[in-house]
Amino acid sequence: MREESIPRNPGPVHESYIKIQDLNAFYGNLQVLKNIRLDFQEHQVSAIMGPSGCGKTTLIRILNRMNDDVPGFHIEGNVTIQSLDIYGRQVDPVLLKMRVGMVFQSPNPFPFSIYENVAFGPKIHKLFKRKKELNRIVKESLQRAALWDEVKDRLAESAMKLSGGQQQRLCIARALAVQPEILLMDEPASALDPGSTSKIEELIVELKQNYTVVIVTHNIQQAARIADSVVFLYKGEVVETGRAPTFFENPSNPMTEKYLSGQLSSV
């Protein structure tokens, strides 16, 4: 594996951390992403927006090679993380997922206890020597996911008993427990009530101190609240990218303006 030999380069904060060049993506013959060029910066929250069916999920799933197993799916172009071509032959897609964690649209905890859900990844990868260390990882992950206080007395209970918002934060803790560098989130709050949503939003802002976050969202207010940079995708193409406040205040493309004013609901 090449990854072992590449030194981790902290570099200047503004170097593009994830770089997508001339990316085309297909399901069979159907092209769903066209000529994507994008840069995501380290320790920032980058939001991907766009009407339903425009390819947001596809784009984000390309970043940890989740789509590799989808029959008929293939891409052209280049995706690098810290100059490492993640579709290069020397990259193992399983190992890549340790580095690039993912949280899904609807909460999907495993039917185990709360503790076991978080301990699952560390146990698989054997990230600890003693049980004590595992306990620490679990606690730390739950704390980072802002769930610890709510569940610390019921760690042995089934994760299925938690509320939707708690389940989603548990899934975030589960992803954090394997200590990724990058966290991908596909509409993580779309299935949640406003209270849980604002909790998750706060959490995401916290997380960017330690992680690089790429998030898909439909919610314009949400993106404005949490994102450092925004990408607007339409029919598989990047229409506009920008830094957060300017993007929302002065969109340069009329299409973006239309979307932001709610006139573009789907493709």
Binding site: K97, N108, P111, F120, I124, A175
Partner: protein, 328 residues
């Protein structure tokens, strides 16, 4: 009013017909019980605890407590029970890893265009009549085991009691292997259906944590499908316990001794029943036939229990589409 009258007639008609399957079962059980009655009374508990099955057809008719039987006859079914259980156990031991291996290959490993034809072929195994399996066992598998595999096993594994000789004829092992081949499609296709029902969300959640394919299978898919898989194995067991023709064709003369090794000749309950009706009819006292009917009741009790357990397990593990097409 006329309309509703028509509906009532229609409903009653279908109801009566639906009841007929109940009627068939009840009358079958009644016939077995009625005919087994003399044996149940006359042989008592010894029927289950003795390994001595001797119809003693040269004996004369004697009457004890109003029940006729031949002098010197003795009916103990331990040998049949032991052979039935042993051959089914061998079958399960072989079929479970093979069937699960196939199921894992079909759901987790193979791409669709390979999985579909293989799946089709595995189901073809279930469509071959059991008498054909018996024929194949008789001319291909039996001789091969007898001439090649069994001598080899006896030579190299004789330190394990069940593998030590002597080798006389195609024995328990051949029955076990034939039964295994027959139940593999049951285990494989139901397990496959159950595994395929694992929610995509759980699979992806695990995959996103960096689990390998096998880890996803072991930690997520197999636990999810567990009940259904156990159900498929129990259903296969039910089929193996009741299988008749394939085993009967391999059973040969049906020497009745408790099996001590894999090479012992054997007689399962079902194979004994199919091979010995004619002999039973020559017993003028009728006790031989009655004892076979009691043997049939025992087989019925075993297979019904096992099947009911299997159906309950499979229902719990969600209804499987294969379950409906499996002849047990």
């Amino acid at each position: 009013m006329v309309k509703r009258y028509g509906d009532t007639v229609y409903k009653s008609l279908t109801l009566i017909v639906a009841a007929s399957s109940i009627l068939f079962i009840i009358s079958a059980v009644a016939v077995l019980l009625f005919n087994a009655y003399p044996s149940i009374i006359s042989n008592g508990l010894g029927f289950f605890t003795s390994a001595n099955w001797n119809p003693s057809l040269s004996g004369t008719v004697e009457t004890v407590n109003g029940i006729h039987r031949l002098t010197g006859s003795s009916f103990g079914i331990l040998v049949f029970i032991a052979d039935t259980l042993a051959s089914s156990a061998i079958a399960i031991l072989l079929a479970v890893p093979a069937g699960l291996g196939v199921a894992i290959f079909l759901t987790e490993v193979a791409p669709r265009r390979i999985a579909a034809p293989i799946s089709f072929m595995v189901e073809m195994l279930a469509g071959i009549p059991s008498v054909v399996y018996g024929f194949w066992g008789l001319i291909v598998l039996g001789p091969y085991l007898f001439n090649t595999v069994e001598p080899y096993l006896a030579e190299h594994l004789s330190f394990i009691p069940i593998f030590s000789g002597p080798i006389s004829s195609p024995g328990l092992l051949s029955a076990g292997i034939i039964l295994a081949i027959m139940i593999i499609p049951i285990v494989a296709s139901i397990s496959r259906d159950m595994m395929a029902r694992t929610p995509k969300e759980s699979r992806e959640g695990a995959k996103a944590l960096g689990l390998t394919r096998w880890e996803v299978t072991r930690r997520i898919v197999l636990p999810y499908a567990k009940t259904g898989i156990v159900g498929s194995i129990v259903l296969g067991l039910g089929r193996a316990l009741g299988e008749t023709m394939a085993v009967a064709m391999l059973a040969g003369s049906g020497v009745q001794v408790l099996p001590k090794s894999l090479y012992y000749p054997f007689s399962t309950i079902a194979s004994y029943m199919v091979l010995n009706l004619d002999a039973a009819l020559t017993d003028p006292s009728g006790m031989y036939l009655s004892a076979i009917m009691e043997l049939g009741l025992v087989l019925l009790a075993i297979t019904v229990t096992v099947n009911v357990a299997a159906r309950l397990l499979i229902k719990q593990g969600f209804a499987s589409s294969s379950e409906n097409v499996v002849r047990v």
